[in-house]
């Protein structure tokens, strides 16, 4: 893909909803990792830790206090580009959320509701 085509994909890809192979919603494309020259998309980045990057400096300071420092594996996650299956109105991934470490925020085991006996 040429450089401009890549930029167009980045433009369309950023902020899109991400769904795993089962259709579960697991976050949005909060940032995109580009490597090399000409730049190639190598990974999608997801997580609250990335929000400060997207805001102007004055807001970024407040946002950083709320979301905490970028901690890879917890509030910042990396989805390698190869894991992307198809791009429609969402970014569909090849694997299930758990296999990629995604969707922990909505993991029923972390919420008391999931641990209620009738669930």
């Amino acid at each position: 893909m040429k450089g401009e085509g890549e930029i167009y994909v980045v433009h369309r890809l950023l902020d899109e909803q991400i769904c795993d192979s089962e259709g579960r919603r697991v976050g949005r494309v909060d940032d995109i990792e580009l490597r090399g020259s000409p730049p190639r998309i190598t990974a999608l980045l997801v997580g609250e830790g990335l929000y400060p990057r997207r805001l102007p400096r004055w807001a970024a300071r407040i946002a950083r206090r709320i979301s905490g420092p970028e901690t890879w594996g917890s509030n910042a996650l990396r989805i390698p580009w190869e894991e992307v299956d198809e791009l429609t109105s969402t970014v569909k991934l090849r694997k299930k959320a758990e296999d990629l470490g995604l969707g922990m925020g909505d993991d029923p085991r972390r919420w008391i509701v999931g641990r209620l006996p009738w669930n």
């Binding site: 909803q17 919603r25 997207r54 807001a59 429609t88 109105s89 909505d106 029923p108 509701v113």
Partner: protein, 406 residues
């Protein structure tokens, strides 16, 4: 045949679910202060919400994107966040106002403390949401709200000066700031965005696709259109009763007086009952809209159909919004005042959530052959212009009229 029935039921639910406490407060006051002169503004607002809802429903059905997905995608994180914060703040005020409205009606019917009813009302809403299927919730409140057609019956019982009524549908701009404030208020009360956000998310919950586009259009035009008849009726009965005696209603209970005057205790009970259902439904719609918007913007799993187990953050946020609404409703501020602020601030924030939907609805790369045709595009952009003007004028008018106090 079954399809026609289903669509008809959906439209009926939309009619009944059209009014909320904002419409009740602003339309009644508009009638009392200016008799029939603001009817054109009611119609303008009603057509506006039909336009916005039709576009949002179409975008949801064709592209699978609810409103705040469109907003984040089209405006990016920063500006989208501004829209989210503004929208959430307005929705919170709205939830509080509707909960206050429920409590006032229950207090009028049962004479027990207002604050007790704010809490029990909220608990009842949670129970209804937990027990009824999603589609059933809209039907439940929608059909109940239809009882408010007693207001239309009251119009015919009163038999007003129909010439003056007809004249009220002709737009006129009085120079008084109070009149202009009510133009904004009446329009904004009809075009409350939470209703559209709820509708668009509901379309996705129901699994809408291109097949539902006709239903979408009927819902928007007939549902909101006929619902608008209720708003118009409210202005007329209020203008007929309150304007000649120079009474500006300061209380929600006053809204029912014209119906009591026409049909006695039966009219009163039907009016209060109808108000209860309308406001109750609106409390659900606005609290859900707040949760939908938050979850969609951040990318969480969302949906009433997913349930608390699959969408715990969405469910938790809904309960938190209800709790915050309870807190505001019980803070001692008059619910009618909370209502006024929620309506005025909602039109200020409206351009932010309207424009992205308009842009996507007209974008063929998202909508293919279902993008805005010439009529939809013309109406869509015309209303954007109107909304921007009103959004800029809203707060200056609010301050200049001392919150509609003159």
């Amino acid at each position: 045949m079954k399809v026609i029935l289903k669509i008809a039921l959906g439209i009926i639910a939309a009619i009944g679910g059209f009014l909320d406490i904002g419409d009740l407060v602003f339309n009644t006051q508009a009638g009392a202060l200016f008799r029939y002169d603001l009817l054109w503004a009611v119609v303008l607002g009603t057509i506006g919400i039909a336009v916005y809802a039709e576009m949002s429903g179409r975008v949801a059905a064709v592209s699978g994107r609810p409103v705040f997905d469109v907003i984040r995608m089209r405006m990016g994180f920063g500006l989208g966040l501004v829209a989210l914060i503004a929208s959430t703040a307005v929705n919170l005020l709205t939830v509080a106002a509707e909960l206050g409205g429920i409590a006032i009606v229950l207090e009028l019917l049962l004479d027990a403390p207002y604050s007790m009813f704010v809490v029990t009302g909220a608990i009842a809403l949670v129970a209804i949401v937990a027990l009824l299927p999603f589609g059933g919730i809209e039907r439940f409140f929608g059909y109940g709200g239809l009882v408010l057609f007693v207001v239309v019956a009251t119009v015919f019982h009163q038999n007003p000066d129909w010439g003056a009524v007809a004249h009220g549908f002709v737009p006129s701009l009085d120079s008084s700031t109070l009149y202009l404030y009510f133009v904004v208020g009446v329009f904004a009360a009809a075009l409350m965005p939470y209703e559209v956000h709820f509708y668009s998310s509901g379309a996705i919950e129901e699994g809408w696709s291109e097949e539902n586009l006709k239903e979408n259009r009927l819902n928007a035009i007939l549902g909101y259109g006929i619902g608008g008849v209720l708003s118009v009726a409210l202005v007329i009965v209020s203008g007929y009763l309150f304007h000649p005696i120079g009474v500006e209603p300061s209380d929600l209970g006053t809204v029912a007086l014209p119906m009591q005057g026409a049909f006695g205790e039966t009219g009163l009970l039907l009016a209060l009952g109808g108000i209860l259902f309308c406001v109750g439904g609106a409390a659900i719609d606005s609290s859900f809209a707040a949760s939908y918007n938050l979850a969609q913007f951040l990318g969480w799993e969302w949906g009433r159909y997913k349930g608390p187990r699959k969408a715990p953050r969405f469910t938790a946020s809904w309960l938190v919004f209800l709790l915050l609404g309870i807190a505001i409703a019980q803070s001692g501020i008059n619910p009618v005042e909370i209502t006024e602020y929620s309506v005025v601030f909602s039109v200020v924030a409206l351009p932010l959530t309207y424009l992205p939907v308009l842009l996507i609805a007209g974008d063929r790369s998202f909508m293919s052959e279902y993008a805005n045709g010439r009529i939809a595009a013309t109406l869509g952009w015309l209303y954007f212009a109107v909304i921007v003007v009103l959004s800029l004028a809203a707060i200056p008018l609010l301050l200049a009229t001392n919150g509609g106090g003159g």
